[in-house]
């Protein structure tokens, strides 16, 4: 089959690799019909996530048709399914309490040590996201092997086209959980850093959850315009003093909740951020947490800090004093996708959520490398890329 493989920093290629096959009884094989490039993939592309091996097939946002099933799979051939990027066994303690992204079994035993050493506990298995999270072949490919296929995949009714439901695999539940973790109350003012797909869905979710005002922060005019279209007020951090603006826009109280939808590769030219960039480049692993640091200073005392943005290591000059002295609550994590798919599918179907507004480009899988480059280099215009294995190359 054809698949997008990683070969090094800014080096991804579409190559021919072996087709996947059923290995365990609960497996299924999916023929991919749509798959997206995620901001998380850019962290792999930039080489700031450890444990990626040349030849690894990337991709964790995908859907398709069931073409083969193991004897204990509950799926049926021909069904259309969206696959959560978090792999969950359904049987362990964390799966039972719906903390699916902390599944204790989905990362193979022999692959758990690296993340256990880094984080104190092993991470769960994720598709196409380094050997820290299992080293699973991802979905930017023609076919994918889906383990525990009786737990994760959600079957899609025929009347809902791919583009409407594809993001159930990751960014829609991620934006939703980002807003949920902000524990939004009706009179709240909520600030969202980052107007990438995750930030845009967090904006939309916060509004659906009843926030009185949502303020979105980025520096790309087109992305800010999309946030505005979703009902947010905007701040361009290149032009405006963000903290001062947030204080004014929240009546001098400070925002009630903040959502960091930027993650470890925050843009910015402050001295500390440049130092962090340098450290990240020479591999001493300081995450560039500029947005998060700013968010912690901006949130009101007693406020909530939600962090869907991905971090992989440690960071310098973390405002620990502000966290304690202001009595903040912090919630974060890889998304517990399976917890949200059913409800969110209904909200897509009944029109509560618009899921296609951010798709800027649809490309054949063969053009995936160009998709990465443009999504990385031209973020203003390239807001979300969907790859289609069946699409004709132009």
């Amino acid at each position: 089959m054809r698949a997008l493989t990683w070969h090094g920093t800014h080096d991804v290629r579409v190559e021919t690799v072996d087709d996947p096959e059923i290995i365990n009884p609960r497996d299924a094989i999916i023929k991919i019909t749509s798959t997206a490039i995620c901001g998380s993939d850019l962290h792999l592309y930039d080489g700031v996530i450890p444990g990626v091996v040349p030849g690894d097939v990337l991709g964790h946002e995908f859907m398709g048709e069931v073409v083969e099933t193991g004897k204990d799979s509950t799926l049926k051939k021909g069904q259309r399914v969206v696959i959560p990027f978090t792999i969950s066994c359904g049987g362990c303690f964390h799966c039972k309490i719906q903390q699916y992204s902390a599944c204790e079994n989905s990362n193979p035993a022999e692959k758990q040590d690296m993340s256990a050493t880094l984080y104190g506990h092993p991470m769960a298995g994720l598709f196409g996201y380094s050997h820290l999270t299992g080293g699973y072949s991802g979905g930017q490919a023609e076919y994918v092997r889906v383990p525990y296929s009786d737990v994760g995949p959600i079957v899609i009714p025929d009347h809902l086209e791919d583009d409407k439901v594809l993001f159930l695999s990751d960014i829609l539940p991620t934006g939703w959980m980002g807003a949920e973790n902000a524990e939004i109350q009706p009179d709240d003012t909520v600030a969202v850093w980052g107007c990438g797909p995750v930030g845009l869905f967090a904006v939309q979710s916060a509004i659906v959850m009843g926030a009185s005002k949502v303020i979105a922060i980025d520096h790309y005019p087109n992305r800010l315009a999309l946030a505005k279209q979703m009902g947010a007020e905007t701040i361009d951090f290149r032009k405006t003093n963000v903290r001062e603006a947030l204080m004014e826009m929240s009546g001098g109280i400070g925002v009630d909740a903040v959502i960091d939808a930027v993650g470890m590769e925050a843009h910015g030219f402050a001295v500390d951020n440049m130092l962090d960039i340098a450290k990240q480049k020479i591999g001493i692993g300081a995450d560039r947490a500029k947005a998060l640091k700013q968010a912690i200073l901006a949130v009101r005392p007693g406020g909530r800090v939600s962090v869907p943005g991905v971090y992989g290591g440690a960071t310098d000059k973390f405002p620990l004093g502000a966290l304690m002295e202001k009595g903040l609550q912090v919630r974060s994590g890889q998304t517990h996708v399976q917890r949200y798919t059913k409800d969110l599918l209904e909200k897509i179907d009944d029109g509560t959520l618009d899921t296609t507004f951010m798709i800027s480009h649809r490309l054949p899988l063969e053009d995936a490398a160009r998709g990465y480059k443009c999504f990385h280099d031209e973020q203003n215009e390239w807001t979300k890329v969907v790859l289609k294995p069946d699409m004709e190359t132009t």
Binding site: V17, D18, E21, N105, A109, Y148
Partner: protein
């Protein structure tokens, strides 16, 4: 690859005044909660008490105690998740563990069960005829509420003396702590999910397949 010339040297087989014959060694493991100033398991000590290595690990498995005990009690099941064990053969009171070694060879370790309390614990230790002095025990206790069963696997072994002994130790005991931890996690996965997790794309890329190939 049984090395017939190998005889355990007495010096390496005593540590902390403990005779490391199978049974005594097993008894040593049973004392894991005693003799310290705190309640932590003995294998979590910063400096292990004795020459021999003790490794241990606990997992919580969402299954009833009886089911887990029963599965483990049938030693022929263990190779399903113990990656370096090819087979465990029962002969009367003893069991011969056929351990995989490099080059397609195997090493035999003969053990006997030293303790067996239904649904609570199983302990075993190598007999004198074994090349390697080792013992292990698995304990099953109820986890709170709906959480299932806490399963602790504790193993002790003594590095055998001499060049041949070291060679065996390397084969059998290569990173025993890592091995024990992975085995226990595979046991957990097998019990909770019915399968052993693999991230391979194809059958011939699984660890099992690769091991057979490297043999």
């Amino acid at each position: 690859m049984r090395d017939d010339d190998y005889t355990p040297s007495g010096a390496t087989l005593t540590g902390l005044g403990l005779a490391l014959g199978g049974l005594a060694f097993g008894a040593f493991l049973a004392r894991r909660h005693k003799g310290g100033s705190d309640d932590a398991p003995i294998y979590t000590r910063k400096s292990p008490p004795g020459d021999h290595a003790v490794v241990g690990r606990t997992v919580t498995i969402r299954k009833p105690r009886a089911e887990l005990y029963e599965y483990w009690r049938d030693f022929s099941n263990l190779p399903a998740f113990m990656e370096n064990v090819e087979a465990i053969k029962e002969q009367g009171d003893t069991r011969t563990w056929v351990i995989k070694a490099p080059g397609g060879n195997t090493v035999d370790v003969v053990t006997e069960v030293t303790q067996d309390r239904t649904n609570e614990l199983i302990a075993w230790a190598s007999t004198d005829e074994s090349d390697i002095t080792t013992s292990g025990r698995v304990e099953f206790t109820d986890a709170p509420g709906e959480r299932g069963t806490r399963v602790s696997l504790i193993m002790a072994y003594d590095p055998p003396g001499g060049a041949a002994g070291r060679a065996i130790a390397k084969m059998f005991m290569r990173e025993p702590e890592v091995q024990a931890r992975h085995d226990l996690k595979r046991f957990k996965a097998l019990m909770e999910t019915g399968e052993i997790t693999t991230s391979a794309r194809r059958k011939d890329q699984t660890r099992e397949a690769k091991q057979q190939e490297n043999g």
